[in-house]
């Protein structure tokens, strides 16, 4: 560890430095969006400016399979500038002594309903499931999200730096998802992860048949599958029509453009590979059927969500390059969750398939590190010994890949966004907590400084405002 500058900086000073930096105009990037028809709700996210930050004497899990003991990391200009046993320290850097502590990439939860099912969970806030028809690919989760959901702050205190917010699972096609940075602000556009592609939420199994069984169907799993196939056929026709139009336009022979259809536009986006598929599916047999539907219509399922029986077909998931986003131990709340086992995640990993720890819960999202720790230790006791540095791929790198943002975040590699968590100790322990959380290089949560804790509008003026949450 080499220090070019050894000054000690207190936490309060760190925050005032951040604040001052954020107030100075000269460094702000001018990224005012130009209105773009193909991107009608563009991101207005702006990172908070910060002086460089160096965390040293710290145990580092880089998120892509490496552990560095007594390491250091430099965050500068919103990016990870250097990671290693030794980094050079800029003279204006904020230095944090990480002795006894651990650093990891920020946790990325690829399955959240924060904002669409916010707290308080009133009926008026229930904006996650458009249960008016089994195919609602035309709806977008971002039009439901309430950025004042206090759950975002709780998740931040758990080390979550980015998350995908999905529509619910009542429908065969529930609508578009959106990936956001966990830095709540006035509008959802302020939170949108600028480079993230859209996703679509699809659902297998019990939910669609339970919701629509008495409302015109589907009332069976076979009708679920018929419903997906019918929709893909229509989407293919729609896509062909538009492709033809675009070719004709290039050739200068185009007539009127085809009529836009929001539902088919989203589905065609999946077929063209622009929109990633996130499919709620529990049972092994249903996942296998869906992978055949995927081949029939030549699209890729990015991730099965919940995937409680993934361990039964982990070989097939690996062959088909489909990720599984799983809980450590949820089970039994419905028939399709009856065969849940605690070793699901390590068994998927062992098969060489992409394993992800997800939450689907405003409580679970606050300690996904513990979910990974449980799965790690359960696997170990069953003879699947995965090093902690590989386990962390379940929490950051793999979900980032599942969301199409891995080139920007999800690991501690030079040049990537500085989305980083400093843990009070080994994050595989119940007793360790996220102490400092950085998004794009700015410290956005500091457990040791209550003054710094973000508070949603909803909690202002209420009992317990600013309390330890």
């Amino acid at each position: 560890m080499r220090f070019t500058n050894n000054k000690k900086v207190g936490v309060a000073l760190v925050f005032s430095a951040l604040f001052l930096a954020a107030c100075s105009d000269d460094k702000q990037e001018q990224t005012a969006p130009v209105y773009d028809k193909s991107n009608p709700f563009p991101s207005t996210y702006q990172r908070i400016e910060s002086a460089p930050v160096v965390i040293s004497n710290v145990t580092i899990l880089d998120g892509v399979g490496n552990m560095i003991e007594q390491g250091a990391i430099l965050l500068r200009d919103g990016k990870i500038s250097a990671v290693g046993e030794d980094v050079s320290i800029p003279s204006n850097a904020i230095e944090i002594d990480g002795s006894g502590k651990w650093v990891t990439p920020g946790i990325i939860d690829n399955h959240s309903h924060l904002g669409v099912y916010p707290s308080p969970g009133t009926q008026s806030h229930s904006d996650g499931n458009e249960m008016t028809g089994p195919v609602t690919a035309e709806v977008w989760a971002e039009h439901s999200i309430w950025p004042q959901d206090p759950g975002f702050q709780r998740a931040l205190a758990g080390g979550v730096t980015a998350l995908q917010i999905l529509p619910g699972s009542a429908n065969l096609f529930g609508g578009r998802s959106v990936t956001v940075k966990n830095l709540p602000n006035r509008t959802i556009q302020d939170m949108k992860f600028p480079e993230a592609p859209y996703g679509i939420k699809m659902a297998c199994g019990e939910n669609p048949k339970r919701v629509y069984g008495a409302k015109g169907g589907p009332m069976t799993r076979m009708a679920n599958v018929a419903g997906y196939r019918k929709a893909w056929i229509e989407a293919q026709e729609y896509k062909d029509k538009w492709d033809e139009y675009e070719s004709a336009k290039e050739a200068g022979t185009a007539g009127d453009p085809p009529k836009r259809d929001l539902r088919l536009e989203t589905l065609a986006g999946v077929l063209s590979g622009d929109i990633l598929v996130h499919m709620h599916c529990y049972r092994a047999d249903e996942m296998a059927v869906m992978m055949d539907v995927m081949k029939e219509f030549d699209y890729q399922i990015g991730t099965f969500h919940h995937a409680v029986e993934a361990y039964k077909i982990s070989d097939k998931l690996a062959e088909n390059n489909v990720c599984s986003a799983m809980w450590a131990d949820w089970w039994g709340f419905k028939m399709e969750a009856y065969d849940g086992i605690r070793e699901n995640i390590p068994m998927v990993h062992q098969a060489g398939a992409c394993a992800i720890v997800h939450s689907d819960s405003d409580i679970g999202i606050q300690r996904l590190n513990q979910e990974a720790a449980k799965a790690w230790s359960d696997g170990k006791r069953a003879g699947i010994d995965i090093p902690k540095e590989d386990v962390w791929t379940w929490l950051s790198a793999n979900p980032a890949k599942s969301l199409g943002i891995f080139e920007h975040t999800g690991s501690l590699e030079a040049g990537k966004n500085a989305d980083v968590v400093l843990w009070s100790g080994d994050p595989f322990s119940t007793y360790s907590q996220a102490e400092k959380v950085f998004i794009d290089g700015a410290m956005v949560y500091d457990r040791t400084n209550p003054e710094s804790w973000p508070v949603s509008d909803f909690e202002v003026g209420q009992v317990g405002q600013g309390d330890a949450k």
């Binding site: 039964k312 709340f333 419905k334 028939m335 086992i341 068994m347 409580i363 119940t430 330890a468």
Partner: protein
Amino acid sequence: MKHTLLNKRFSLLASACLLALSASAVAEKIAITGAQIHTLGSAGVIEDGTILIDNGKIQQVLDADSVPSGYREIEADGKVITPGFIGALTSLGLEEVSLSAGPVDARVEALPVSSVGAAYDVQFAINPDSTLVPVTRVEGFTHAVTGISRTGQLFNGQGAVIDLAGDFTALVKANAFMHVNVGDGGTHANGDSRAALWVALNQALDEAVFAAGTDLSPTEDWEGMITRADAKAMIPVINGELPLLITADRAADILQALALKNRYENLNLVLVNATEGWRVAEQIAKANVPVILNPENNLPGGFDQIGATLENAARLHKAGVLVAIGMDTHNIRLAPQHAGNAVANGLPHSAGLAAISLNVAKIFGLDDTLGSLESGKEASLVIWTGDPLEVTEAAEQVFIKGEPVEMTSRQIKLRDRYLNRDPAKPVAYSN
């Protein structure tokens, strides 16, 4: 120590396997040696101690690593021993699969026998063959408090305490508690308003007081709001023989619950959730009312949970309130993780362990036999790989009434079937 090092390494596993084969054999004398023992009794934590088990009971807990003759030794060097954990509020034995999967005995549709839900009684509904029982016990749980989760009426009926040995004598205590929800969740079936709910609750309690001195035979007149069956169930509540669990989140609701003792002085109250309990912790402590809570509830799920905080358990404990942790059914096995997170947020470790064992036993009047490792108590205990509140540690061997239980479950069998799958034949032909 008589054993060689080699023996030491294998003896625990081997003895557990052997005993598993003869689970119904006559209880033998067992000495468990070498572990860190969290007695939760006056002996506190004993390093490298010995537990002597005879006839299903704890004969002695010794602050020494020695084995009298006539005892089979189980070496547990470097391990941790605690009392068996007790699920504080579950529906174990009453629910297999929650949704769209046939009757769930933990959910009741109103029947004319009861107008307020007090009469319903889970003691007749316990299924000891439920797969949840072994799934739960292999994770260090030896007992559970179990009850109805929903009636759509005022009360959630009468719950019970069961052991998790999985035999037909699971029922440890019938009529173990009565349960009522006075928070937002309770208003739905009670006029959608506390202004209605509390009048109904007071009326039910008043009628129970009256019923205590009345002949409830069908030949006699009874024109109360509550039915005769409800009245019979409510009399022990009024007398304080049955704890009355009151689910309340908002501080004002908690104070209303405590005020019941001014009107019905024998009530044996227990608060459930008490999300804003920290705001009135002194009053709860002064009333000597224990709390069963989930320490991870830190979101304002409704307008009666605005003050939710991760420090609720720690603050209540500090004020002198007896805190128990553990509310779930399929995953009641996660209560140690919940307790660990309470510890991470300020609860002392010893209080975290007590919250999932001794304090539950105290609340339900079982602490003369359960909840701590002391002479004469039931030998229901667990050998852990390490600190049970750490998510990475696990139960290595569970004993219920002095018998080591087989450390397997349907989940473990499913796991092994797929871990050892022979790709050459259909999986149904695997073990």
